[in-house]
């Protein structure tokens, strides 16, 4: 313990050098810009900027790339709140209440709470990384395919409950997402599926195209289908004196931030798209424990604070399996693994002893980076919120242009743009028919991992489905799934019985 603190202090010494501070600042700023631009999420942002770090020493390079990562996560939340366009999947949930807050003229408090929530989570996360990393990493390592599969099933059900619409519709969207995720190479046998003899589909459906299509393009189209006069009237112009959060906002948010940080940190250690699951789990928790659960989805600040803290904490703790085990559990950390290898650092159990400067320097820089983001973003809240002052007649074409350009830059492929437009049209129709796109997107991302876990579990058990129920952790996730599935029905029964009892009482 004492040794960990000493090493962390030396890490702060490394991260606080002038050059490393500069690279951290550059990374955070570049990441925020990348996150704000639709189509350029943390994955593309990190990948694009790896060549920029070639001339730097490994510690400075990784500090800068990590800065891009959490800067992009913050920037993604900004577009979620201001434009209802999630910069990356983890920000999807922020759209639900964040955008509603913006529509009510409360974009500023939502953005500020995002920054404060991220910083709070970062502060708690660093303590978690130093003191809890070894035992928690062990626990995550003990997860086998059945636990992984059950966890993802649980995630889907949580998500389907979160969206607030029809559970059956959400589940159908999740299944469609899984089917789309099955397009391309079979992750186990290497055979091609649903490619229809086209080379474009061999590598599967491009997730970024689906994400921008379903959320960005669909949102633009949903706005454009309003008559011109309404388009003009619906411009949101927040007042500057309303931009900062009130004491009441902070009071309402602090509990959600702390809970979100805890959830995010725990989920971040688990294989899979941790920030995505963490944000949904945090949102669901806030909704469940809230005194006004029905208000969620209408612009509740806890619906922004909790998921944002969870997002940041999950991003931070996702570095534990990457650094300690050498296993990336999410695409951004996979890219960072590549960057580490390029710079001659091999993550794994020996990393702490072989490259203590990189390990502790990067951990300390995350805290510094979060502080920089807080310092940068709070004063710039009015600047970000001012995007809403641009008339929609101008903003919508601009968003469309950035979506088209951003999509092209991911793979330099015009086919990706066509796919994005197709998904945009689908997303627009889904929106009109009250189908939620979030389960589809989540399913698309974790579908291949889910399939691998499912098939590996059955291989291990020689085709026996009991493997999912015999292992305690897997069983716990499945019981939680059943509970989440049963909750709406239970709530309905309790309400019906309560109403019946009240009627009888009234009649008596």
């Amino acid at each position: 313990m004492v040794e960990s603190i000493q090493q962390l202090m030396s890490g702060f010494g490394i991260a606080a050098t002038l050059m490393n501070l500069l690279y951290c600042l550059l990374g955070a700023v570049a990441g925020t810009m990348v996150g704000i631009l639709p189509g350029l999420g943390p994955i593309a942002g990190i990948a694009l900027l790896i060549p920029v770090t070639f001339g730097l020493n490994p510690t400075s390079a990784i500090i800068m790339l990590c800065g891009i990562y959490y800067g992009a996560m913050y920037g993604g939340s900004t577009t979620s709140i201001l434009l209802n366009v999630p910069g990356e999947t983890a920000s999807v949930i922020t759209c639900i209440d964040g955008y509603q807050m913006a529509r009510k003229g409360r974009a500023g408090p939502a953005l500020a709470i995002c920054a404060i929530g991220s910083f709070t989570a970062g502060t708690l996360g660093i303590f978690g990384m130093v003191f809890l990393a070894p035992p928690l990493a062990q626990a995550a390592l003990a997860f086998g395919p059945p636990e992984y599969f059950s966890l993802m099933i649980c995630g889907f059900i949580v998500l389907s409950n979160v969206t607030g619409g029809s559970l059956i519709k959400s589940l159908m969207m999740a299944v469609i997402g899984l089917i789309i995720g099955a397009v391309g190479l079979d992750p186990v046998t290497g055979e091609y599926r649903f490619t229809f003899d086209t080379t474009y589909l061999l590598s599967g459906i491009e997730f970024v195209a689906v994400a921008i299509g379903l959320f960005g393009i669909a949102e633009v189209l949903a706005n454009v289908d309003q008559p011109l006069d309404q388009l003009e009237q619906s411009v949101i112009v927040p007042r500057f004196r309303d931009l900062y959060p009130s004491l009441q906002d902070l009071k309402q948010s602090i509990g959600a931030m702390l809970r979100g940080a805890g959830i995010g940190f725990g989920v971040g250690l688990i294989p899979g798209p941790a920030p995505v699951i963490a944000t949904y789990a945090s949102y669901m928790t806030e909704k469940r424990i809230s005194k006004h659960p029905d208000a969620f989805g209408t612009g509740v600040i806890e619906g922004v604070a909790g998921p944002e803290a969870a997002n940041n904490a999950a991003c931070q703790s996702a570095f534990i399996p990457l650094f300690v085990l050498g296993i990336p559990f999410a695409p951004p950390t996979a890219i960072l693994l590549g960057a580490l290898m390029i710079h001659g650092v091999v993550p794994g159990p020996m990393m702490i002893s072989e490259h203590p400067d990189v390990f502790w320097g990067v951990i300390a820089s995350m805290y510094i980076g979060n502080f920089i983001l807080l310092l940068l973003n709070l004063p710039f809240v009015p600047f970000f919120a001012s995007i809403l002052r641009i008339p929609k007649k101008v903003l919508l074409p601009l968003v469309m242009l950035f979506c088209l350009t951003g999509m092209y830059t991911v793979n330099n492929s015009v086919n990706d743009i066509w796919l994005m437009l197709l998904m945009g049209a689908l997303g627009y129709l889904m929106r009109k028919r009250a189908y939620d796109a979030a389960p589809l997107l989540l399913a698309l991302v974790i579908g291949p991992k889910m399939e691998v876990a499912f098939r590996q579990s059955l291989m291990l058990s020689h085709g026996n489905f009991g493997v999912f129920f015999e292992r305690p952790v897997s069983l716990t996730f499945l019981l939680a799934t059943v509970l989440f599935l049963a909750l709406p029905a239970l709530r309905f029964i309790i309400r019906t019985l309560g109403a019946g009892a009240r009627n009888e009482g009234g009649a008596g």
Partner: protein, 154 residues
Amino acid sequence: MRRDELIEGAVLFLCGGVTVVLSLRMPIGTFRMAGSGLFPLCLGIILMLLALLYLANLLLQRDAKGHPGQTAGPAPRAAGQMLLFFGASALGVLGLNILGYPLTAFLLMLLLLRILGIRRPVLLVALPLLAAAGSYLLFVQFLKIPLPKGLIGL
């Protein structure tokens, strides 16, 4: 019960059915040693079951009047505006490899702004020019990402 909801349910059921049929063309294997078609086959069946459940739910709610979660369709004129906007965007994608990025971005912005009712000539020229130049500088000059140059090499 609404006719369009029934159609939705039927379309989703059909999607599940198509997935099942396509999956059956792939090796299914056994649960112990699953083939590449097993997982999508399971998904297709689950989708069909969920769609059936959705349809059954609709049939049980015959007296229900509409669905609160659904939004009304756009006015015909606004729908036309949306289709024009979408069509112009698709046209822009078509022009990308022919005209190159800067020119396509300029023309696309001009077209989209015009569709949304911007009429002042100054704005119609200045905004697309700024957007095209700004995005070109950001992606090509700052982020070093190559964008299509087109046949005229712009």
